[in-house]
């Protein structure tokens, strides 16, 4: 599994500069919008960078972003906003080298790829919200006000992963939607006949309970409950 928090691109963070082979700086602007996972954000990032060179690609492995371009050439990226820079795992500007690749020093803040398997004893459920009225005949009738799918997982997190995990959950707890990957290698949208597909989710209810495990424990196990997010 994999859990991503979404990232909202807006005028406060959508700008950056890039140049290729020491040419003039080009100011780029990512398209404003809510990107529900890193893959979607990188696709837009790559599209913009390719305006300076079609050879540039932006990919990631378990949340660690790599920019690649034609070897022997240089690419420089100047982040005009630290929010986007930090989110993508960089601490400084990308300075051009002829190696043809630059990898972020840290993972994207919005991606958690667990090293231990997660469980899903109750992987799907439904929430119904009803409104009832009683007819003069005495029979009560109900009307459905809400109907949402719920997706549950049991997360297992090692101590060393807690900071990254809590970073993602912090965003989700703020109400930002995200993406639950039942299979990190499967980007097909979830469906009943695509059970391991990817699901757009929001943290359900009031959040989640994050408790320190017992002293002897070497991992944190907690239940995460999501509702399906549909924009």
């Amino acid at each position: 599994m994999r859990l991503d928090a979404g990232f909202r691109v807006d005028p406060s963070n959508h700008s950056l500069r890039a140049r290729y082979d020491g040419g003039a700086w080009s100011t780029l602007a990512l398209t404003d919008g809510l990107y529900l996972n890193l893959d979607a954000l990188l696709a837009e990032f790559e599209t913009q960078l390719q305006t300076v060179s079609a050879s540039v690609t932006a990919t990631h492995a378990s949340g660690v972003v790599t920019l690649a371009w034609a070897a022997g050439h240089t690419l420089s990226v100047d982040w005009l906003c630290p929010t986007l820079r930090d989110w993508l795992g960089w601490a400084n500007a990308v300075t051009g080298t002829t190696s043809g690749a630059a990898t972020a020093p840290g993972p994207c803040l919005g991606v958690f790829s667990p090293s231990l398997p997660w469980d899903d004893p109750s992987p799907i459920g439904w929430d119904l919200t009803l409104l009832r009225s009683r007819h003069p005949s005495g029979r009560s009738r109900s009307y459905r006000r809400g109907y949402r799918r719920r997706f549950g997982v049991t997360a297992v997190v090692l101590f060393g992963e807690l900071a990254q995990f809590r970073g993602v959950l912090r965003e989700l707890a703020r109400g930002v939607p995200g993406t639950l990957w039942r299979d990190a290698s499967n980007a097909t949208p979830w469906a009943y006949d695509e059970w391991w597909g990817v699901i757009s989710v929001q943290l359900a209810g009031d959040g989640y309970k994050d408790a320190f495990p017992e002293a002897q424990s070497i991992r944190l196990t907690l239940a995460l409950d999501f509702t399906e997010y549909s924009p």
Binding site: L128, L130, L131
Partner: protein
């Protein structure tokens, strides 16, 4: 026949080979008066049966609706709901006297479209062969592959009072209506999942249940109360409860059954209330 084609052929596997069975059905409210006409080939007054439905008629289950239609057909034809064990849904099948073809005009008078839609059709039926299982499923009906593993109701009793005087005389008063229905809590656990012959769509039972939950309200004429039918393997008449959810905030969480193949078998608890006579 109470709707489920007991002992009959079903799609998938023989329904009769399985013991305990449970099925859920939505209610149906007919808001407009309608006359549904069924005509057996070759037609004529003797082969024509009208089902006259009054506006405001409420059936608490599809089985009840079908039973009413069967009364109107007076033995010329028999309508039943045939469970599809692969999809957890039910389909209409009509058998006719003499095994002849038949036609159905849903709005022969008035507006019978909501009954038509509820029974899975989008238009009038013309020249359909006897014993044909209709293609689209009935809306708001869901059939467990396995029977419910728990159905517990709270006790209710006939209303009474008792007074004991100082001189030892005892006065008692009982309700005169001994079978007055009361609202009782019903704690149900259904078990469902992939039929043994199914290998591809393991999650079909969950999908069918989700569709049922949606159709409880979205199907024309739907709503609460709805019906829970349970047929133990030692009786031939199902127990039926007309039920409603016990709260306005309903949380349904199917859980995997330990020991089953992953994703193949699920338990789901339902917290319901039912109108029931005292035991």
């Amino acid at each position: 026949m109470p709707g489920v084609g007991i002992g009959g052929t079903v799609i998938g596997l023989p329904w009769s080979t399985w013991g305990v069975r449970t099925w859920l059905q939505g209610s149906h409210t007919q808001t407009a008066a309608a006359t549904v006409r069924l005509v057996l080939s070759p037609g004529g007054p003797l082969n024509t049966k009208d089902w006259v439905i009054s506006a405001g008629t409420v059936w608490s289950s599809i089985d009840d609706l079908v039973a009413t239609w069967n009364l109107a057909l007076a033995g010329k034809a028999w309508v039943e709901i045939v469970p599809d064990t692969l999809t957890h849904r039910g389909h209409v099948r009509v058998r006719t006297q003499g095994s002849v073809t038949y036609s159905v005009t849903w709005s022969y008078a008035g507006d019978g479209t909501s009954v038509r839609s509820r029974l899975g059709e989008t238009g009038d039926v013309s020249g359909r062969a006897h014993d044909t299982v209709w293609t689209s499923p009935v809306l708001g009906a869901w059939y467990c592959w396995h029977g419910a593993t728990r159905i517990e109701r709270t006790l209710s009793r006939v209303r009474s009072s008792r007074r004991e005087r100082l001189d030892g005389q005892v006065d008692t008063q009982h309700a005169t209506a001994t079978r007055t229905a009361e609202l009782v809590a019903l704690d149900v656990q259904i078990r469902f999942g992939t039929p043994p012959t199914e290998t591809a769509a393991h999650y079909g039972g969950l999908l069918a249940l989700e569709e049922f939950l949606d159709e409880l309200w979205s199907a024309s004429g739907g709503g609460e109360p709805w019906s829970l039918h349970h047929l133990p393997d030692d009786v031939t008449t199902p127990q039926t409860w007309h039920v409603a959810w016990s709260t306005d905030e309903v949380e349904l969480r199917p859980t995997r059954v330990a020991g089953s193949c992953p994703g193949w078998l699920w338990d789901l608890s339902l917290s319901l209330v039912a109108e029931s006579s005292p035991w």
